[in-house]
């Protein structure tokens, strides 16, 4: 069994991370009734005897004493991290896992990446090494950040290079929140563009997410719940409306519900690696199967049924509906329509009481409605995990390597060009040592090259599938 370390950077990254740890604890508490520290829990948590001062307190087996998250929390402002440390999750984090500063990055990628990057490089390395040492077999770093700001975007992507150099064998999975079109940070296109270059070059796998899609999903769930349709009731211990059952106190901001979705994404992504099932899927299999060419490592995700993202008691729908929904554009976590674009590869990760025949039946049913690239007509990767998400009987996470990410990138480039042509706000960046106009030019060309790859693939969409002539052997 392997371990993963979560590195949460910036305000967005830390808020999502916080939701994640909350849900992870809840999930393991529900599954692990006997309170024994087992392999599954150890993937994200250490077991520590808090009476022991210093480093020697790790307990590898036996009863759970005190769980500590395998996390590194980084923020160049103190507000969010302090809130976490004073909140109900404070015991899950170690003060030694934090890196904070006071002034913030001012929504400036260059400040986050160049200034804070250099300033905190050693500290970051030290914390990462420590967290790696605590792992028996470290398999993956999960980085959570937003693209539009300064810290998450700049420092978050600075980290990637550090991780690549220091831990070349360990996977880097990045969950990136892309700015929506009505983003209120003026410089977000610059920040996102500069960050994209780093993601292109140093991430193994990126799960792009945008706030608009999360918001739409929350609205959809709310409308179903509030309409009282089909006897839906909000569960008494709902994460959405009450704090009981989850440790965190609930706030009325939509961001919490939105962050919960991303937290669920990470939980479901790792469920088949942590828990048993008849067809397991480890994290190294995600990269292996879904990344046919190193640059094309952006995966569009969808989580169904929607009600598993909230604690609502909807009478179980037809299982097959869950599969259909996974491919609809309304259920994707970015603004994308995979059905009308080209699939390079698709993974279906099922949890709960679903068997291979259910999976196969749905693949057969949905295949004709989807377009796969000619060399990967049966590009499906599937997994079955026996443990369902808390309070539900089954769920599905679909990961698609699909050209439908292209519009997001093209829009990003457009918004960037609008600003860049006027050189608006550029001086804030160029003031920073190490930043030059060429940094921007390189970032644009990196993104353009990526878009071009997707264009070339899209061009093959309507072409008839032709088999490549086979080798002829003498008999």
């Amino acid at each position: 069994m392997t371990q993963s370390v979560v590195v949460q950077v910036g305000q967005c990254g830390n808020q999502i991370g916080c939701c994640f740890w909350d849900l992870a604890l809840r999930e393991h508490a529900a599954v692990n009734q006997k309170g024994i520290y087992d392999d599954a829990i150890s993937s994200f948590f250490r077991n520590v005897d808090t009476r022991v001062v210093g480093d020697g307190g790790s307990i590898s087996k036996g009863k759970i004493s005190s769980l500590k998250a395998r996390a590194v929390l980084i923020d160049m402002e103190e507000g969010v991290v302090n809130e976490i440390l004073q909140g109900p999750l404070r015991d899950v984090f170690d003060s030694k896992q934090l890196i904070t500063d006071i002034s913030g990055s001012g929504n400036n990628w260059a400040v986050g990446h160049k200034i804070f990057g250099n300033l905190y490089r050693e500290q970051i390395l030290e914390k990462l090494r420590k967290s790696a040492e605590h792992c028996d077999c470290l398999q993956c770093f999960f980085i959570i950040h937003s693209m539009g700001g300064g810290t998450g975007s700049g420092l978050g992507t600075f980290l990637l290079k550090v991780l690549e150099d220091e831990f070349p064998e360990v996977y880097r999975f990045v969950t990136s929140i892309y700015p929506s079109s009505e983003d209120d940070v003026i410089t977000s296109p610059y920040n996102s563009m500069l960050a994209m270059k780093e993601l292109n070059e140093h991430a193994d796998c990126v799960l792009p997410i945008d706030n608009q899609s999360l918001f739409d999903i929350i609205s959809k769930i709310d409308s179903v719940v509030n309409s009282g349709k089909l006897g839906t009731t909000v569960k008494p211990k709902s994460v959405i409306t009450s704090g009981a059952g989850a440790i965190k106190k609930q706030h009325k901001k939509p961001f919490d519900a939105m962050n919960n979705i991303v937290a669920n994404l990470l939980l479901n992504l790792t469920s088949s690696a942590r828990f048993e099932g008849s067809l397991n899927m480890d994290l190294n299999e995600i990269s292996m199967n879904l990344v046919p060419f190193p640059q094309l490592h952006y995966l569009v995700s969808s989580l169904t049924p929607l009600y598993t993202l909230a604690d609502v008691n909807i009478p179980p729908r037809r299982l097959d509906q869950m599969f259909s929904d996974a491919f609809s554009k309304d259920h994707q976590l970015i603004q994308a329509d995979p059905r009308h674009s080209l699939y390079l590869a698709c993974a279906l990760m099922v949890r709960g009481n679903v068997q291979i025949s259910d999976l196969r039946r749905n693949i057969e049913r949905l295949k004709p409605t989807l377009q796969f690239v000619s060399w990967n007509q049966e590009g499906w990767k599937t997994s079955l995990c026996s443990v369902p998400p808390v309070g539900h009987s089954h769920s599905l996470l679909a990961l698609a390597n699909n050209t439908c990410v292209k519009p997001t990138f093209m829009e990003l480039r457009e918004r960037f060009m609008r600003l860049y042509k006027k050189k608006a706000h550029l001086h804030h960046y160029l003031h920073v040592e190490g930043m030059e106009e060429s940094s921007f030019a390189e970032a644009v060309s990196s993104l353009s090259a990526l878009i071009q790859e997707y264009n070339e693939l899209d061009a093959t969409k309507s072409m008839p599938v032709q088999d490549v002539p086979r080798l002829i052997v003498a008999v």
Partner: protein, 453 residues
């Protein structure tokens, strides 16, 4: 003589458990339709072959469990412990933490050499506990990383270290529509390597077994457990004890050797398929009776029309009439009509088995011209019923059964290879494009050879 089983990867370990469980249940079944003494002899023979005795009487499977991550082995061990009718050896497992990531290259080039010594030691220990070793079963899937890559590596090492013993790989052929996206790459690399180091492969197709579960067993929500149990039944019907010759009362000592001798006359032709009849759910068993004539007629037609199961058999297919020129070279593109065999083995178990008439299987028209039917066909008959089936028949065939599936996998892998997709994942661990090309060449050769039979 004993068979040591090496269970590799998730698939290998999940299936291995069902196989041992099925063998054990059958050997302890009271409905053997034979005398008590006969039953005891059967039990003893099965035990010698697949189990060894422990001091407290609970039999221990002659198996080594290997996986590169711990979840499945833990589950397998606890399942056996829970049932507590038989168990695995205490130190019979080798486990790592990280898995092979569905990467054949990782399984073969990284895990293989790294863990060769430990795994071969475990196998050696198990071998030493056999009075006399018949050979090895290696249970593995082709689609993943450990079963396929590490499986290919271990088979090679078995070839080196135990060159006098036989190796039969039980290969699980994945569903045509993805379990794993790179399954075609993993499959061609596996098959090409095994072709050089294994003695024979017995191939089990997931699609086929799935259909059997759906259509014949009437299982509504089919799980991998169901599939594995059907597979285990098929294997059991072949490898449970059989009499050494017609009318004799001793159980065959070396089934692996005898089977290989009959079925693999030429190293170019190593792919064996298995069919069995009847296939039905346990509930329906009690209400059914069969005649040997009926069963054998169906089985023969399944053979020549390449039917995968007892239903939907194409009765139009006929062997070429003798005296007429042989049918032209089989083309994979055309609808495959007549399935030519190189060699066949029919195994019959149950009531009145001695009266079963297998003459129809000896028709020379069924076979390629380079073996006399008397050499190409064998039958093993055993009175003792298997798994509560009053009569059951199994066919192990070295024929054109697997040409089409093989050709399909090679075709898909070739299309993907032409685009170079995923190749970087393999070159990262030392499997280069030339290795792929070698595999393609070898397998195209195999396809062509089987087509020209």
């Amino acid at each position: 003589m004993s068979i040591v089983t090496v269970q590799l990867g998730q698939c290998g370990n999940q299936i291995g458990f069902e196989v041992f469980d099925s063998l054990f249940s059958d050997s302890h079944c009271s409905q053997g339709l034979c005398s008590k003494r006969e039953n005891e002899a059967y039990q003893a023979s099965c035990k010698e072959r697949f189990f060894r005795e422990e001091k407290n009487g609970i039999p221990i499977a002659r198996a080594v469990l290997v996986d590169m991550e711990p979840k499945v082995i833990n589950q397998t061990l606890s399942k056996a412990a829970q049932a507590s009718r038989w168990k695995y050896g205490q130190h019979a497992c080798f486990c790592q933490k990280q898995g092979s990531g569905n990467n054949w290259a990782y399984g073969y080039s990284m895990h293989g050499p790294r863990h060769e010594e430990s795994i071969m030691n475990l196998i050696q220990k198990e071998v030493e506990k056999c009075d006399s070793l018949s050979g090895f079963f290696v249970i593995m899937s082709m689609a993943g990383g450990t079963g396929s890559g590490l499986g290919a590596f271990i088979t090679q090492k078995l070839q080196d270290q135990y060159s006098n013993s036989l190796k039969m790989n039980q290969i699980i052929w994945p569903y045509g529509t993805g379990e794993v996206i790179v399954q075609n790459y993993n499959s061609i690399l596996t098959l090409s390597h095994l072709y050089r180091s294994s003695d024979a492969f017995l191939i089990h197709e997931n699609d086929v077994v799935h259909k059997i579960c759906a259509k014949r067993m009437n299982i509504k929500q089919i799980s991998f457990s169901n599939i594995n149990q059907v597979l285990a039944h098929q294997l059991g019907s072949v490898f449970q004890p059989t009499y050494s010759s017609e009318g004799s009362f001793h159980y065959r000592r070396n089934p692996l050797g005898d089977l290989m001798e009959h079925l693999v006359p030429h190293p170019e032709f190593k792919m064996l398929g298995v069919r069995n009849i009847p296939q039905m759910s346990e509930n329906s068993l009690a209400y059914s009776t069969f005649t040997w004539a009926g069963l054998l007629k169906h089985l023969r037609q399944m053979l020549i029309s390449n039917a995968k199961m007892e239903e939907g058999i194409n009765w139009q297919v006929r062997p070429p009439l003798s005296g007429l020129p042989p049918l032209g070279k089989m083309s994979v593109n055309k609808e495959l009509h007549f399935n030519t065999s190189i060699a066949n083995l029919v195994i019959l178990r149950g009531k009145d088995v001695l009266s079963a008439d297998v003459e129809a299987f000896k028709d020379p028209a069924l076979y390629t011209s380079w073996l006399e039917p008397v050499d190409a066909f064998s039958v093993w008959k055993t009175q003792r019923a298997f798994n509560k089936y009053e009569k059951c028949a199994a066919l192990v065939s070295n024929s054109q059964f697997l040409v089409k599936p093989l050709d399909m996998i090679v075709g898909k892998a070739w299309n993907m290879f032409a685009s170079k997709a995923y190749i970087h994942q393999y070159t990262k661990f030392g499997i280069e494009e030339e290795d792929f090309l070698d595999s393609f060449t070898l397998l195209e050769q195999v396809v062509a050879s089987y087509c020209n039979v």
